[in-house]
Amino acid sequence: MDEEHKVLESVLREFSQKEIEPVNKNIEIEGLSVDLKNKLASQGFLGALAPLETGGANLDRLGYTILLREIASASPSAAFYIFLQNSLVIKSLMNDNNLEIISKIASGKMSGSLAYSTRLNILDPGHITKKENRIEGVMNAVFNSSGDIFIVNIEEEESLYLIESGFEKLPAHEQLGFRGVAFSPIKFNSEKFKKLSTKLDDIIDDIHLPVAAIAIGIANGALSKAISYAKERDAFLHKLKDFQPLAFNMSQAYSELDSLNSHLISVAEGQKDLKKELMIKTIALDFARRTSKLALQVHGGYGYLMDFGVEKFYRDAMFLSIVGGHSLKDKIKLAELIFESKAGWI
């Protein structure tokens, strides 16, 4: 990693420590505050992928990967919010003349969401139709559902549309993870929309590396807490770290994390490579689930309490596995890339 990215990493760690850790519990209970969103914006995180002329940070692949990983280590919800604004909204808007909206998102004056539930594993994702001058329907699983703008996909014509008004947030879902970000169905009935040239599948094809970065951040956050706790907590007249199963399992996880981190950086430094990105996402999600489970177990009953800040990693790792793409479709795609022909599908 070059000097510039090392500095970014260091700045992000300091930011997380100073601005996120003190409000971490509130994020889980009340959602991301306006104050924190403003701080994320002022650092350029909400417009991480936005061009400089819009006030964005215009980060490269590696910078964006480091951003998501480091923020997720402290608050997966905050990282997911950054991901939504950048990987889903700004990227959808980028090809057309939407600089003003992108600028508002980058500055935190506006936030948006892409309703992508049709690309998740859900029987009834909802349906949106476009008839003459009106877009209407319901999308059932939308993140940042209290946002100011939404991007929806009209399946019949495979086109994305930007909707700036004419939507209603329906009662919120029970939310396993990313509780800092609102999540509910949205009912659309709008006459104010604009067609975008970006395709939903291109956006979804591009989320694997960012999702892997968040997953590795989650694993890192959980494992760091577990290691600290094992150094301090006494049981049976010894520190937890002195017991073989815990020490060995945590050392194994630490080794895996180190390797995965190096691999993440290497994939991010390279050019876009769907196969490599799918591979690292698959491994990272599995690792995040395993490691957050281990971290919770190390904390015992205390890990089960929100106050200790570990249980969120366990919930978020699982939720990311559900919302970070359609796992079955990902597996089929990966098998196809590995076998160089249709595979895993009769």
């Binding site: 594993n121 879902h173 007249l237 689930r289 177990q297 015992g300 309490l305 929100m306 559900i322 597996k331």
Partner: protein, 373 residues
């Protein structure tokens, strides 16, 4: 060897399932989970309808499974008011049973068992709460207990505390005693613990004892044997924890099967089919170990190896099943009770002796058994 359950237990299973499906409506599951409230009304209905038969251990085991299968948080809250009373049942004299056990069996009082301490989780021998014996034979209790189920709603607690000095590091488990403490007594205070990941309908609290006077009549069993009594209790409670975990795993299986029934594309995939097969196999294995361990326990001949195996494997199965079912059903599962079950399941690998403690127990007791063979 007959693996089938008697018809009356199969019938009871159906009755409990019907009760749970009727009383644990989606909005109630969500309400009690979201607000971290104890479901007094549902508990009352369960008592009125005779759902909980504390006099029949097999009946209770099946009941726990079926309640947890529909909602672990509500299921636990219905069952747990009896928690700890096994100690009075086994060790109490006639007066103690009349005064403390019978009202709980009638559903009039709520019980709790206070063992765990802030700095001594699974390490029961590390208990620091003290019972200072007074000249009149009574005790003064000081100390604090953590993660106590029913802590703020219990009328009475069975408390394990140190009644004498620690003889040596190797004998830390000596000189502990078990007493019954009424929560209305002066010096008892409680703080409800909010923000649990799961089992949020159940009441969990920190309990503080500040110079609480405990009459000598409230000593359970013999003085100094509290640690052994607690271990004996865990031999019972771990079977019920295993049943809880099996219920959760079964509930997770129900949800994935439900999606498979509705979605032909989903059910036609081998990935789905293998997941269902794997979860179902593990549930069957967990249930068999649990029922075997229960059969020894219920004949008053507990096998600690089997008991710990049951708790360890069933708890892992509950977590495994909810995780695999969520991964397979994706957002559909996340928008059902499965997300709550996933949060609820994990505690079974932690309470009543963490999985690591179960593994240690399995090893130690197994070696003892093998060495004496």
């Amino acid at each position: 060897m007959d693996f089938s359950l008697p018809p009356e237990l199969e019938e009871k299973r159906k009755v409990v399932r019907a009760f749970a499906l009727r009383e644990f409506a989606d909005e109630k599951k969500r309400y009690y989970d979201e607000h971290e409230k104890f479901p007094f009304e549902i508990r009352k209905k369960a008592m009125e309808e005779g759902i909980l038969n504390y006099g029949n251990y097999w009946d209770l085991l099946i009941t726990i499974e079926e309640l947890f299968r529909v909602d672990p948080g509500l299921g636990f809250s219905i069952f747990a008011p009896f928690f700890g009373n096994e100690n009075i049942l086994l060790l109490g004299n006639d007066e103690q049973k009349k005064k403390y056990l019978e009202p709980v069996l009638r559903g009039e009082r709520i019980m709790g068992f206070a063992v765990t301490e802030p700095v001594a989780g699974s390490d029961v021998a590390g208990i620091a709460s003290k019972l200072d014996k007074q000249p009149d034979g009574s005790y003064i209790l000081n100390g604090s207990k953590m993660f106590i189920t029913n802590g703020t709603i219990a009328d009475q607690l069975v408390v394990v505390a140190r009644s004498g000095p620690v003889p040596s590091e190797q004998k830390r488990h000596h000189n502990m005693s078990m007493v019954i403490v009424e929560t209305k007594w002066p010096g008892v205070s409680t703080n409800k613990l909010y923000g649990k990941m799961g089992m949020r309908a159940s009441d969990t609290a920190e309990v503080i004892f500040d110079n609480v006077k405990v009459p000598k009549e409230n000593l359970l069993g013999e003085e100094g044997k509290g640690f052994y009594y607690a271990m004996n209790f865990f031999n019972i409670s771990r079977i019920y924890v295993a049943a809880m975990a099996i219920g959760i795993a079964q509930g997770a299986l129900d949800i994935i099967v439900e999606k498979a029934k509705k979605d032909k594309a989903f059910s036609s995939m081998e990935g789905t089919q293998f997941t269902i097969a794997e979860i179902a196999t593990r549930i069957e294995a967990a249930r068999l170990i649990t029922y075997k361990a229960a059969s020894f326990l219920f004949q008053f001949n507990p096998d600690p190896v089997l008991t710990s195996m049951a708790k360890y494997y069933a708890a892992e199965t509950g977590t495994y099943a909810t995780e695999k079912a969520l991964l397979a059903t994706g957002m559909d599962g996340a928008l059902t009770s499965l997300e709550r079950m996933f949060r609820d399941a994990k505690i079974n690998e932690i309470w009543e002796g963490s999985s690591e403690i179960e593994e240690l127990t399995i090893y130690r007791m197994l070696m003892k058994k093998l060495e004496s063979d």
